[in-house]
């Protein structure tokens, strides 16, 4: 029974990684690829760490895996935010893609 759950978690993690790479290849510009490259990563790593914890059956590993998970959870959004901010300010996107852009007027007003 435990083996089945571990197998499902491992497959889930690998599918998430593959999906992230597919998104990275297919999306048209930087800001969309940012979504594809950072979000499925979090969930896939969560599932893989759960698989490792369940398979080992050792209580000593649980705190380390928890610390690894929390560090990932805290740092991935910060990296995504920095890259998004830098990408938006340096105009690495096509303005035809954006349907509604609340930020442009604010930045133009601040710059001038």
């Amino acid at each position: 029974m435990l083996e089945i759950i571990v197998g499902i978690c491992v497959l889930g993690g690998a599918i998430m990684a593959l999906g992230a790479a597919v998104g990275l290849v297919r999306f048209p510009d930087l800001l969309s690829r940012l979504h594809a490259g950072t979000k499925p990563q979090v969930f896939g790593l969560m599932m893989l760490l759960l698989a490792v914890g369940l398979y080992s059956g050792d209580w000593k590993l649980a705190p380390v895996l928890l610390v690894a998970l929390l560090l990932q959870l805290l740092t991935i959004p910060i990296a995504a935010h920095m890259m998004g901010r830098s990408g938006y300010r340096n105009k690495h996107f096509r303005s035809s893609d954006l349907r509604r852009d609340d930020l442009r007027e604010v930045i133009e007003e601040a710059d001038s």
Binding site: E3, V6, G7, V10, L11, G13, A14, I15, A17, L18, A20, A21, V22, L24, V25, L30, R33, L34, G37, T38, Q41, G44, L45, L48, L49, A51, V52, Y55, S56, D58, L61, V64, L65, V67, A68, L71, Q72, T75, I76, I78, A79, M82, M83, R85, S86, G87, N90, K91, H92, S112
Partner: protein
């Protein structure tokens, strides 16, 4: 269990091919940084699967270290990212660059670059005057 690990391993290999494509192709610096971060994450996933396959949990600390280092690297590069896409060459005639005046193509290119620089200067001068006038009028209001 081994069948599951084989399938998952093949999926990770395909994912890393995808990221390598993006590192090669990505028109800006930030695309490449993002793909490198994802490659590091795939490495962490592969390490987890190796721990399951060989039933030895010695390298758990490496998970923590790898994610921290990946984060620090991508944030540092994103801080200093620049404006231009890398495939495009900007031809700026420098003083050291000699232009063959007899070659019509290079003369035309030089002419086009000079015209663009003059247009940019005119636009900056026009924008500067409105910025200055706005500041003056705002000062008068206060």
């Amino acid at each position: 269990m081994t069948a599951v690990l084989w399938i998952a391993g093949i999926m990770l290999v395909l994912a890393s091919f995808g990221t390598l494509y993006r590192i090669f192709r990505g028109p800006t610096l930030l695309d490449r940084v993002l793909a490198t971060d994802l490659l590091l994450s795939i490495f962490v996933a592969a390490l987890c699967m190796h721990m399951i396959a060989s039933d030895s949990y010695e390298h758990v600390l490496l998970l923590v270290a790898a994610s921290t280092i990946g984060f620090v690297g991508s944030v540092t590069v994103a801080r200093y990212a620049e404006n231009t896409p890398s495939g495009e060459k900007k031809l700026r005639p420098s003083r050291l660059q000699e232009v063959n005046k007899n070659d019509p193509r290079s003369a035309r290119r030089l002419e086009a670059v000079r015209r663009q620089a003059a247009a940019r200067k005119r636009k900056n001068k026009g924008a500067k005057s409105t910025r200055a006038s706005r500041r003056v009028s705002a000062g008068k209001e206060q």
